[in-house]
Amino acid sequence: MTSPVRGEIELRPDRSVRVHISPDEPVFAGHYPGRPVFPGMCLVEYVRLGALRTAPAPDLELAGLESVRFRSPVLPGDDLTITMDWNREGQSWCCTARASTGRGVAANLRLRFRHVDAP
């Protein structure tokens, strides 16, 4: 799948993931000119990608965002750490995640995934 983010996601021994937010991420050019702030929905994209790296089942796709709460901005040069906890809920899987930078929690999230072939 295509993605608006370019960073390399590192899977750590504790099953968290880490990614460096490079000033070269293409979205910074327009968000915002002269005042780069990493878009909140691109933070959600890194959580989606991190979740897929730790997925408990094959062939999952994002089905919904049950909740996302943005706590603090993500800026160029930040190192983003994402911790995740998976739970099965009927036919879908829920991933409860926390994304943090050196300044503290950036977002708390709950993402729902479904099997790719699900109706």
């Binding site: 799948m1 608006p4 293409p26 050019a29 915002y32 000119p33 994002l62 996302v68």
Partner: protein, 139 residues
């Protein structure tokens, strides 16, 4: 006609509203965004449009609804609940966003709505809460 670039601080490649089709200030808005293969996300890949950018386009439409040209404030996403992706969106599709203002509480605004392609719903957003911060609009 609402001047999107005067209301939103977003610029290429993160300006994801093409046109306002209908606006009732303080109530609701309908916007469109054409999905094209010429967006940077398709540089190295094929396939469905990134679902997070569907939400971004919808949220920017909320920003147009509540924004005022020349205002120095810009919208900050606060919280999202009950977002559902119903079907994938591809280059060639025209995304139609429908955003309604649900309530305002002090400096916070809450929006609800959906997006569709050719009459088929692709996205539901139960609730988006935003706040505002001073940011100079891009040149």
């Amino acid at each position: 006609m609402t001047a999107i670039c005067e209301v939103l601080a977003h610029r290429y490649p993160m300006l994801l509203v093409d046109a306002v089709k209908e606006i009732h200030p303080g109530r609701e808005i309908r916007t469109v965004k054409a999905i094209t293969r010429n967006e940077p996300w398709y540089r190295d890949g094929e396939g469905a449009y990134p679902p997070v950018l569907l939400v971004e386009s919808w949220a920017q439409s909320a920003g147009v609804l509540e924004g005022t040209p020349g205002d120095d404030r810009t919208m900050l996403l606060g919280a999202l609940t009950g977002v559902e992706f119903h079907r994938p969106v591809f280059p060639g599709d025209v995304l139609e966003n429908h955003v309604k203002l649900a309530t305002t509480v002090g400096p916070m605004a809450v929006f609800t709505g959906s997006s569709s392609v050719a009459g088929q719903r692709v996205l539901t957003v139960s609730r988006l809460a935003v706040s505002y911060q001073n940011v100079r609009k891009g040149e």
